[in-house]
Symmetry: C2
Subunit: 330 residues, 2 copies
DNA sequence: CTGAAAGCGCTTACAG
DNA sequence: CTGAAAGCGCTTACAG
């Protein structure tokens, strides 16, 4: 059995209260007893158990991040931002994966109900407003990332603007027949980017047809994978006539799309979305999303909310930026 | 204040023991009382608190993964493997980031001492054997991933073989002057790959010079970033004579190296390391590491160890596989 | 099928 | 500067 606070107290000849004080740096403990306790604890490999500590103190000093797809490049950038602000704070971060196929709301509720953390960062979960409102009864700080709600702090990205910017650029260059490589068409960011797409088209008085939305069949990670892009691009190259330009919903998919073009020895101008770290090196024209900043800000919002429950709700909306590289300049 | 077990018990007219039984599915509880309790709990948004539950039951049903660089592509693959085996098991996974600049052993000890989980997965932490042995006193299941120790379950990758395989392939094709793009030269996987590199050279009776080890200056993520590869390749292209071929320590760096070649309009055959999902699409010849399988196996080891403390130590060593694509065939 | 009660390992007023 | 004691919110033999 591992030692507990009683073992340490007994061996050090003090009460458990004193041992507790040593580990919590509360009150003043005489330096000599402090050292004695610390030495014995080190010897015996003791540290207060997290569970007992949190139950007794009702403080947690921890936040939890809930994400649907941990294994994508988008997430790793966000995480860096979160870690950026957490560094040097005495707050622990725990990350838990949410399975998108099994009732997202239910999973979130299970975690929140169990009172794991002081606050929760919901990243890219895209719950509906009705669902979000249900979470309010747990009365715990929640901050949204890559999502928007008038009822919670949020940091989101203007996807309508992103789609608009991308397509407008292509239209300005004189391309008329433009197709969009989507992922799951019911995902909110995709819906918004399509809205932006349409907005740009209508500004140039070009009609929109459903056939301009293309997707591959490979649906791993909601379709945000290379293969899906490859498949979609194959379809596009089979169209007659071949479209003038492509707007692709993610850089990862664009990697696949580029390969499909190379395989068929055809070149179609392409703009994609994300601006991952590899994108610069493979020459992707793309819409930059400040994922690091978004992770940073959302975490900051959450911490503020934990410390000051009743401050005003804060909705940050980050704007897109068009990064022009070679893939669109053909 | 959120409701606790007493609130539910009182409202349902039962004892707290019964409420507890309902939530734990232990014993038989009369169906009608079960329903009553569940309904009231749902109404009041109650679920047993994780901390209290774990303290009282001494069971955790959770494992914790400790990783140094969460934000790299290598990790995301491993994680998929871990999630693959955890799916359908009632085991929670928590992920915690270890800062490589602040005493890795100390951070690991702090977490283990606090008894967060039933077992710990140490991924790519590369503690020394002396350090690892210190962890034994906590008497808790530990499983190593991308690392080896005779004293712990481990899943590792044969990096010597990987380096050997890559360089031998280049030598067989007739290239004599080969350089290696390293990361931090003190990282164990890199050291081993260099050993394999040397082994292949000596088999072909080609002498080795330190100048054949090149690295960029950008050291984010231990040098495993695109920029480092770009910088390293620039140095290589400035050598006189330019080497015959390049062995690159990671696919991410190879992306940078490829860009450097394109920018200078020079082509040098290249083999890299990892086989990420993008690699197929950008035509990288590379050494495949079965990261998913490794994550899967290491997690499996850990779970077995948790269930059966005294089984024999199991050291899996995965073998590399050479995947030939276009980057080496110039 | 259910309840009373002890106990999990801590923290924290309170008192001195 | 330190100790005795209550309490955090649960689980689980034990008894019926």
């Amino acid at each position: 059995m591992p030692p507990n606070i009683y073992d340490i107290a007994k061996k050090a000849g003090v009460s458990i209260a004193t041992v507790s004080r040593v580990f919590n740096n509360t009150n003043n403990v005489k330096e000599s007893t402090r050292q004695k306790v610390l030495t014995i604890a080190e010897e015996m490999g003791y540290h207060p158990q997290a569970y007992a500590q949190r139950l007794a103190s009702k403080k947690k000093n921890s936040i939890m991040m809930l994400v649907p797809v941990m294994s994508n490049y988008f997430f790793t950038e966000i995480l860096k931002g979160t870690q950026g602000i957490l560094k040097n704070q005495e707050i622990e971060l725990n990350i838990v994966n949410i399975n998108q196929d099994q009732g997202v709301l239910h999973q979130v509720e299970q975690i929140i109900k169990r009172r794991w953390a002081d606050g929760y960062l919901l990243a890219s979960l895209h719950l509906t407003e009705d669902e979000l409102i249900k979470l309010r009864r747990y009365n715990v700080p929640i901050s949204l990332l890559d999502d928007y709600s008038p009822n919670f702090d949020s940091v989101s990205f203007n996807n309508v603007e992103g789609g608009y910017l991308a397509v407008k650029y292509l239209l300005k260059k004189g391309f008329k027949q433009i197709v969009f490589i989507a992922g799951r068409a019911d995902s909110l960011p995709i819906v918004h980017r399509i809205d932006g797409f349409k907005k740009a088209l209508s500004e140039f008085e070009i009609p929109f047809h459903e056939t301009q939305i293309v997707t591959g069949t490979s649906m791993e990670r909601d379709g945000f994978n290379e293969k899906n892009g490859y498949e979609a691009m194959q379809k596009i190259l089979n169209m007659n006539p071949v479209p003038d330009a492509v707007f692709c919903s993610s850089d990862v998919k664009a990697v696949g799309a580029l390969k499909a073009m190379a395989d068929r020895k055809k070149q179609v101008p392409l703009i994609s979305y994300d601006n991952l770290s590899i994108s610069e090196y493979i020459g992707l024209t793309t819409i930059h999303q400040p994922m690091y900043d978004m992770g940073y800000n959302a975490t900051q919002n959450l911490i503020s909310r934990i410390n000051e429950e009743n401050s005003e709700i804060c909705n940050d909306i980050h704007s897109p930026e068009l990064i022009i590289r070679s893939s669109s300049e053909i």
